[in-house]
Symmetry: C2
Subunit: 207 residues, 2 copies
């Protein structure tokens, strides 16, 4: 069984690349599917589940156990519950034994016993902002964020993800990488990158 | 003209990988060659030049201009002189126009106008320590460093290189990567990695 996990900077094109990679290899693909299953099991809206998980990561866990009353926005009970169930779902995916690509969700750490090929996708901040602004333009005008707001979002999401990672892996940034490969998409056409990355990953598994 | 630059964490196997990569591709290779030329031009010992450059990076430049008297160990005059000449040599290599692999020396930043494929090589700290200790064992016994001393060296060298990079690129670690590809050598046999990396790089140039 081969697992490729794709962690990414917000706005780097990591999700698109992961989807294409799974298609290219003919492997299973997990992204929103995990959120959808969680939502269905708890009779919640997928968007609500997504937000709860994004804002209630491992870096909030201790806090919410200790001090549940300070969380006005989300019920810490449901946040913790969803996180634990998310972990189980990932382990179930691992137990299925199919070759697959998994986007985000710290799947590389949670499934480390299955030795996934751990990819991190990043891009220059200018490119990420550009990509995010293209998405904003597709939303209803009254909901569109300004460039400044989007930039603030990017920084906040990066910070949350990095903190979660440090807690889960016990490694700080300087301590070498916790990924097998980090790809900067800035100079690439995502379609061409897909093939190059697939070949590299397959050689890693053969190695 | 295609240039691949290899930056690396100390002890990650980046130098060996770079040499093999150049051999595999049949390209020119620059590493110690740059130090040797600097040494010859200034009638200095190569090891002395290497030490001066390692301890007198861009992060020391302002300080040495402002406050030359505080540098007891090295003559700041020669340090600055060597750094400027090193930069010129890199530009001369670029002007030659041959496909090549260049190890370290921040060649990716200095030659950025020539759009090099910028690779960073890292490895888990345990593997780096192991690799460095293997090198220590080959030295005369009275010169061998302890594991603790080697670990301290690794941290110091990483810190210096990271600081130099921040100054040269104006980017902090969190700001996406200033490399096109970061490879963790931990799971790889360097020989097999060479072929995978060469193919990936060639596709990047075609892209």
């Amino acid at each position: 069984m081969k697992i490729i996990t794709i962690s990414r900077q917000f706005g780097s094109g990591g999700r698109e690349l992961g989807k294409r990679l799974a298609d290219h290899l003919g492997w299973d693909y997990y992204d929103r599917e995990i959120i959808d299953q969680l939502a269905a099991e708890h009779s919640l809206e997928p968007d609500y589940v997504k937000n709860v998980l994004a804002n209630h990561g491992w870096h909030n866990l201790q806090l919410s156990y200790r001090n549940s009353f300070s969380h006005a926005l989300y019920d810490p009970g449901i946040g913790t519950q969803l996180m634990i169930r998310e972990r189980e779902i990932l382990q179930e995916i691992g137990a299925l034994g199919n070759d697959c690509v998994i986007i985000g969700r710290d799947a590389d750490v949670i499934l480390e016993d299955r030795h996934p090929f751990r990819v991190f996708i990043c891009a220059d901040i200018e490119k990420r902002l550009e990509r995010c602004m293209r998405h904003e333009k597709k939303r209803p005008e009254e909901e569109q964020l300004s460039e400044r707001q989007v930039l603030r979002n990017i920084r906040r999401i990066d910070r949350n993800r990095a903190r979660t990672r440090e807690i889960l892996t016990g490694r700080m940034n300087g301590d070498g990488s916790t990924f097998d490969l980090t790809v900067n998409t800035t100079g690439w056409e995502i379609k061409k990158l897909t093939g190059a990355l697939a070949d590299f990953a397959l050689r890693w598994f053969e190695n």
